[in-house]
Symmetry: C2
Subunit: 287 residues, 2 copies
């Protein structure tokens, strides 16, 4: 699912917790993490002893830049450290991500709650970070010991393995939700406002009047329930002004029969355009 | 972040909405989607006209099986269709995922709310599905027209492009949260229960008694606030029984000085084991 892509005309949301990748094995995964960070407005990428090295040319050669898919600015500004201690030295609070219990007696929270705490702390000026371990092994216990608390993911226990970029993605997603709310890139267009209840009720009366005349409500004893069912069916549509006008027009046509038949067109002579001919509705015979 | 992996001894959570990949371009992405589905207990994978084909041998050759990383059962059971209409024929409700506004007047919801609706519907026996478009272009408008409502992701508007497997991952994550709760694969171990307040207060009195004797609380007028600050510092630790015993022992040692000095050991003669010598604490002089 793509289709929107990078839109440089829209403000770049930035800030958020530091994402600290500890001894990442593959440069391509660093690129995928950068992409996930950009999706959710995170911009502080820190690398501890990346196994494939991090001179820029190396990273480019190893596919990190391609995997970043436009989030290259994060790779360019990534900071590289020799130790986790150095990488988190300026942070006031650190989460360690792990899929296993570590017996360290730290709080264990899901990303939705952890990132709500972090978003609130960052709003009040604190600096938070999240450390992620190497792809194959995860953080070792000494790394986890450096953290204030543990962040883990609610996953199917029978299949709990998330890859590095997926873990960064879910963390970024929950940080974004907590810091920005569930702000969507677009909403349902308000081309036509919702129909007010008067308009909807007027349509019901119009429709039911015609149905009544034509003997739709039979047996008569069932009329109240038939009427209620029919109305509820339309209520489920959350009708707009335009929707009511469209339905009203459709009922008029059903009731009155063809506006112009092809015969009528023929009588009107050759000046009629083909477009208008196409407007002719099918010959619907009301019951 | 890995480290847990597939655990066949734990129950496989399954069920959930159908994941319908419409005209996916790359087999490897189908594999990554299968992996994301397995993480969150989804097991109904449907493919509409995959571009690289789907005879099993093709898919294997094109990397889908490697990318699925253990979720091969989902690829084996995937159903293949010629049209979106056929793929969703048995479903009662369909979400279309899109990153762009489509002007179709449908409800637009984020995954957290959409999947809460779907989880509730599935609990009451309904069948829901989610359609995802091709990697490069997303769903076309005719595909979106087949859906009841639109699912879109809260992302940084300046960088809104999610890849196919990421979109499936976030959808699966929210379905899992709604259907299972924020159930974590592990929780903080309860090896030692939280200290009850009596125990914590007894420790405070013990500590403060020694500090009082040693003239810590100066000037005396500040004692109440110093005491409160000190107590709050310990309250922030959420002390367990074992924690209080550990701290109590540490204070005893600080107050009483070395349990055994090297001199003492020498007097005890050569029968002392090296291990016990190593237990000797550093010579801490109380103030």
């Amino acid at each position: 699912m793509t289709g929107a892509g990078t839109d440089k005309t829209r403000p770049l949301i930035s800030g958020g917790p530091a994402i600290v990748l500890v001894r990442p094995q593959l440069a391509v995964n660093i690129g995928m993490c950068a992409r996930a960070m950009a999706n959710f407005g995170l911009d502080d990428l820190r690398l501890v002893s990346p196994r494939e090295g991090w001179p820029r040319t190396d990273a480019r050669r190893k596919g990190a830049y391609a995997a970043a898919a436009g989030a290259v600015h994060l790779l360019e500004s990534a900071k590289v450290y020799d130790s986790v201690e150095a990488a988190i030295g300026d942070l006031g609070f650190v989460w360690a991500t792990t899929a296993r219990e570590r017996g360290q007696g730290k709080r264990v929270l899901p990303p939705a709650i952890a990132m709500a705490e972090t978003a609130a702390a960052i709003r009040s000026g604190e600096k938070h970070g999240i450390i992620f371990g190497p792809e194959r092994t995860g953080l070792d216990n000494d790394d986890v010991a450096l953290a204030d608390a543990i962040l883990t993911f609610p996953v199917n226990p029978a299949y709990a393995s998330l890859n590095l970029a997926q873990a960064v993605l879910l963390t970024g997603y929950e940080y974004f939700r907590s810091s920005q709310g569930d702000v969507l890139p677009f909403v349902k267009p308000e081309r036509s406002p919702p129909a007010d209840r008067d308009m909807v009720l007027a349509f019901f009366e119009f429709l039911e009047g015609h149905l009544e005349t034509r003997g739709f409500f039979r047996p008569v004893s069932k009329k109240p329930i038939m009427q209620r069912n029919l109305r509820n069916l339309f209520h489920r549509m959350s009708l707009s002004h335009q929707d009511v006008r469209t339905l009203w027009g459709a009922v008029v046509r059903l009731v009155e029969g063809p506006r112009h038949t092809i015969q009528t067109r023929k009588r009107l002579g050759p000046k009629q355009t083909p477009r208008k001919i196409r407007d002719v509705e099918p010959d619907v015979t009301p019951e």
